[in-house]
């Protein structure tokens, strides 16, 4: 490709991507700086004065600091469910890859089923009510674990296949019990794929809207996505506040994106291709 053509194409691509992908984000950011009156115009204009701070303050304090509660809930939900996911999925991936039994086929089928089948919501609610976990944060944590397991297991199993089995055997001969083999030899070696898992699943859980909508009703347990959804009707005329809210809950994924871009891309493609 010639030098000139290359840069010409590059310039067009940058311009097009700018219009298509960046303008919506620019619109969000510009709106967060506007006051209610200007934001009501919903146009792509420079804000008259800086109202960012008052907007943030108002969004955060609305409905008795609900957004703050939501951030706390979402953080607990994300950290707890991803921690459990990582450990439990790694354990399954390890034994599933290492030990060939006649159940392997069935287990693999169930994993693939989990990737495809939509969860049966009302029966799940019925079941959660039965065991007293409906509308509880810890119930929601377990739900996220259950729904995230298939993807994480597939990631782990593929990675464990690259760790030589001789390493397990060396540890066994060194006197390691199964527990030690896994937690002291294998798990530390899984670190790269664990980072990928943490990053991908954190984003998924943090951004999850559908499941909390079903299983976590009520304002006390609202997550950030639910809060945004609820604010949508409340802020119907206050676009400045609505978009401030959107901007605020985009910050965590943005940070993850800035620091872990590579792992996310690696994980999503690996999981997708292997799956």
């Amino acid at each position: 490709m010639s030098f000139v053509r290359r840069y010409w194409l590059g310039a067009v691509a940058i311009l097009a991507s700018g219009v298509v992908f960046l303008v919506p984000f620019a619109f969000i950011i510009l709106t967060t700086f506007k006051d209610q009156k200007q934001s009501a115009l919903r146009d792509f204009s420079w804000p008259d004065g800086n109202h960012l701070w008052s907007n943030i303050l108002e969004v955060v304090t609305t409905r008795n600091w609900m957004l703050l509660t939501a951030f706390i809930n979402s953080t607990i939900l994300t950290v707890a469910s991803v921690t459990l996911l990582v450990i439990f999925a790694a354990m399954v991936g390890f034994v599933l890859q290492r030990r060939k039994t006649r159940f392997n086929g069935l287990i693999e089928f169930l994993i693939l089923a989990g990737l495809m089948i939509p969860p049966a919501v009302v029966p799940t609610i019925w079941l959660l009510q039965g065991i007293g976990l409906f509308g509880k944060l810890h119930g929601m944590i377990l739900i996220e674990v259950a729904y995230g397991l298939p993807f994480s297991i597939i990631l782990y199993r593929a990675f464990i296949a690259t760790i030589p089995r001789e390493l397990d055997e060396a540890a066994i001969i060194d006197g390691a019990r199964p527990f030690d083999v896994f937690f002291r030899v294998i798990l530390p070696l899984l670190w790269p794929v664990t980072v990928t898992n943490i990053v991908v699943q954190s984003v998924a859980v943090f951004n999850d809207f559908t499941n909390p909508l079903y299983y976590l009703p009520g304002n006390a347990n609202a997550t950030v996505q639910l809060t945004l959804y609820n604010f949508q009707s409340q802020f119907q005329t206050s676009y400045n506040l609505l978009f401030t809210n959107i901007a605020l809950i985009t910050i965590p994924p943005l940070l993850v994106f800035l620091f872990f871009n590579r792992q996310i891309v690696a994980g999503m493609t690996a999981g997708a291709v292997k799956g």
Partner: protein, 359 residues
């Protein structure tokens, strides 16, 4: 005291039997080498001793203790793997000390043992490194160090040198021999390289198809192979074989002749062999002499190395032989060459493949 005893050891995966009843007795301090072609079951046998494979039948005794159902860590063994299997996330120090740590050995005892092993293997300067920062030979040393600190009754080696380059392999081979002398421990060593087997072993076990073909000292296997398989497997280049017909049998001498061979009387055990039988005659390439005599063949290929000459020979029956003659011989492909050999150097194998060494 028996270091290691295998009694009718069997292993099968479902229907497939891979170890078909192995009996072996190893005295304390012996260096035993398992050799055989790939898939002969030598590694499986070693892994059964290690406890990495279940034993389907028979008994395994290590230091007079029945070990069939004993966990690997309690068998008094240590193992060195082909790919070293060092823990990538631990330093050399932690790699060597991992087993002791798991056994909850006190820190000071552990430290002392690690440093002792490092001293024996001259790798004290490597202790703080990670495996990825080591060369192949150094990794091998660490793997051996990890075995030494366990102070095992039996050391197990699974093709430990096959990932090293040729020069390093020779060095490590000598070091292993020295280590065996210094430690005086029982060692079981698996290899497909017969030079390693010949140079290291007190006792070689030749395996094929899950069956022990012969057990014996290296030179015994070379000079008195028990059957066609061992004769063909031990010794490099390979022993030459031809089919011949028995003309007469006198006690301890069998007279044979064939399309490729003029009549020759070979010292051999004639029990059960009668004139007219077809038997196999084996002769090593180095034992053929460039004198007019009993064999005439067409020269196909000549490699003149100066000190010796390798000739690829085609016999009248079409059989190919390799001949190694001392000194330089200016032979041309297409010409013919006359050869003979000392009858005492030849071995007669019956139709069952068993060698008929003279009694």
């Amino acid at each position: 005291m028996a270091g290691l005893e295998l009694k009718a050891l069997h292993k099968s995966y479902g229907e497939v039997e891979v170890i078909k009843g192995v009996d072996l007795s190893v005295t304390h301090g012996e260096f035993v080498v398992f050799v055989g072609p790939s898939g002969c079951g030598k590694s499986t046998l070693l892994r059964m001793i290690a406890g990495l494979e279940d034993i389907t039948g028979g008994e395994l005794w290590i230091a007079d203790k029945l070990c069939n159902a004993v966990e690997p860590r309690d068998r008094g063994i240590a193992m060195v793997f082909q790919n070293y299997a060092l823990y990538p996330h631990m330093t050399v120090y932690d790699n060597v000390g991992f087993g002791l740590k798991l056994a909850k050995t006190p820190r000071d005892v552990r430290d002392q043992k690690i440093r002792e092993a490092a001293k024996i293997l001259q790798m004290e300067h490597l202790l703080e490194r990670k495996p990825s920062q080591l060369s192949g030979g150094q990794r091998q040393r660490v793997a051996i160090g990890r075995a030494i600190v366990r102070q095992p009754e039996v050391f197990l080696f699974d093709e430990p040198l096959s990932n090293l380059d040729a020069a390093l392999r020779v060095d490590m081979r000598m070091e292993l021999a020295k280590l065996h002398q210094d430690l005086g421990a029982t060692m079981v060593y698996v290899t497909h390289d017969q030079v390693e087997a010949m140079t290291l072993a007190d006792k070689i076990v030749v395996l094929n198809g899950g069956v022990v073909q012969q057990v014996g000292a290296p030179i015994e296997l070379y000079q008195r192979p028990a059957n066609l398989f061992v004769a063909g497997f031990i010794g490099s280049p390979k022993m030459n074989f031809i089919g011949v017909t028995v003309e007469s049998v006198v006690a301890d001498t069998i007279t044979v002749a064939g399309k490729d061979l003029a009549t020759m009387a070979i010292p051999a055990d004639g029990t059960g062999i009668k004139p007219g039988d077809t038997v196999t005659l084996g002769i090593r390439p180095h034992d053929l002499l460039n004198r007019a005599g009993t064999i005439v063949g067409e020269v196909m290929l000549v490699e003149r190395l100066g000190n010796e000459t390798n000739i690829s020979l085609k016999l009248p029956s079409g059989t190919s032989w390799l001949v190694v003659l001392d000194g330089d011989h200016d032979l041309k492909p297409g010409g013919s060459v006359d050869l003979t050999f000392d009858p005492a150097r030849a071995i007669i194998f019956g139709s069952d493949g068993v060698a008929r060494h003279p009694r």
